[in-house]
């Protein structure tokens, strides 16, 4: 799908330029924007190195594990189908805390582990279980504390206050996550109601 979107953006742009007479601007844009993207990616190194370095210390210091313990009672309520001492819950908690701190690379394998455990709980069926969908929703709403990459981009473009967006972003994430959980419940009850 993304391949088609990408092709369409470039193709529509070039065809439109044929008629609007902006071909010179398009020609220039191709090369300047490619160069711009490289500068940006290189510039992002600074914030990503700093943040991932800090997070490694946090991980070793047990801050992530401590938070996972703190959230355990809440999360086990969100997943009523998972037994309280099941390993699935542990993986879910580690995945969510890793995501909160923007450790996408660490979060993904933990998330897959959590999904595998939930599949076992669901008799290895190839149908998504209720808990799997809830977990997916929590991941797609992306509960992030600090949006590091966005801050990095804002710094690159000389924002007066690159971190100004942190508070609002956090608020929006929370709204999205709560809304996601409510929507998940509604869909779930609708599906059980239809069956009975």
């Amino acid at each position: 799908m993304i391949n088609w979107i990408w092709i369409c953006m470039a193709a529509i742009g070039i065809i439109y330029a044929m008629f609007s007479g902006n071909m010179e601007a398009v020609n220039e844009a191709i090369f300047t924007s490619a160069a711009q993207a490289v500068t940006l990616a290189i510039g992002l190194i600074s914030i990503l190195v700093f943040w991932l370095g800090m997070m490694r210390i946090a991980e070793e210091a047990g801050i992530l594990r401590g938070l996972a313990r703190l959230f355990r009672p809440i999360v086990s309520r969100i997943f009523p189908d998972i037994p309280k001492d099941h390993p699935a819950l542990g993986y879910i908690l580690s995945n969510l805390t890793a995501n909160m701190f923007g450790l996408g690379n660490a979060a993904t394998p933990l998330g897959i582990k959590a999904m595998e455990e939930m599949k076992k709980l669901n008799n290895n069926s190839d149908t998504a279980s209720r808990s799997m969908i809830t977990f997916l929703i929590l991941n797609t709403t992306g509960l992030t504390l600090i949006p590091t990459t966005v801050i990095g981009i804002r710094m690159q473009y000389e924002s007066v206050s690159p971190t100004q967006i942190v508070g609002v972003t956090l608020l929006v994430t929370c709204i999205g996550t709560i809304a996601g959980l409510i929507i998940d419940r509604i869909f779930y009850y609708k599906s059980t109601w239809r069956k009975s």
Binding site: I5, W6, M9, A10, I12, Y16, A17, S20, V26, E28, A29, S33, A34, A37, L40, A41, I42, L48, F50, L52, G53, M54, I57, A58, E59, A61, I63, N105, G111, I112, D126, T127, A128, I133, F135, L136, I137, N139, T140, T141, T144, I146, P147, T149, I153, R154, S159, T163, Q164, V166, G167, V168, T169, V172, T173, I175, G176, I183, K190, S191
Partner: protein, 176 residues
């Protein structure tokens, strides 16, 4: 407004302080760990590079040709009616589909309108506040071989829609 921006400014330094205190209590080789973790940051930035070049170039072609502005102008009257800024519509549409594409679009919006403009702020918040639904779904359900996804996609996209509307509403209130 005052409280939220106070959180924005204080959160990161305070968090770093907590990490430092925790590291010294546990007697960790904090600096060595920092360097070790930081290496991963270089990898991440470099692996982002081709995605960003591809996406930002395609979007720049679309914008410089005038096609993007024509599209926005076409939709603006309808969207303005509900208070939705037409400039961020392409970003809102692509956010659930591809994370790197959205990152490219956010960058392009920030570059075009400025990071502290209303559009730049809104784009930043949209990019930062949700994750890529389609990607998460493909990776996780693909990895464990789920074929019947039931209501997962509908629920995920609906949650995205609410997050996007919340972003527009809150950013308009605080920065508009």
């Amino acid at each position: 407004m005052g409280f939220i921006s106070l959180i924005s400014i204080w959160m990161i330094p305070c968090f770093i302080l907590i990490i430092m205190i925790a590291a010294s209590i546990r007697k960790l080789p904090a600096y060595n760990l920092f360097v070790e973790g930081g290496k991963e940051g270089v990898k991440t930035a470099v692996s982002l590079l081709p995605f960003l070049v591809g996406m930002i170039t395609a979007i720049s072609i679309l914008r410089s040709s005038g096609a993007l502005d024509a599209f926005i102008e076409l939709l603006a009257p309808v969207l303005e009616f509900i208070g939705f800024p037409a400039e961020v519509l392409p970003l809102a549409l692509i956010r659930p589909i591809s994370g790197t594409a959205a990152l490219g679009m956010t960058t392009e919006l920030i570059a075009t309108y400025g990071p502290d403009s209303f559009i730049g702020t809104l784009a930043s918040v949209m990019q930062g506040s949700t994750d890529t639904t389609l990607y998460v779904l493909t990776i996780y359900f693909g990895a464990i071989g789920i074929k019947k996804i039931r209501y997962a996609l509908q629920a995920g996209l609906l949650a995205d829609l609410i997050a996007i509307l919340a972003a527009v509403f809150l950013v308009t209130m605080m920065f508009g």
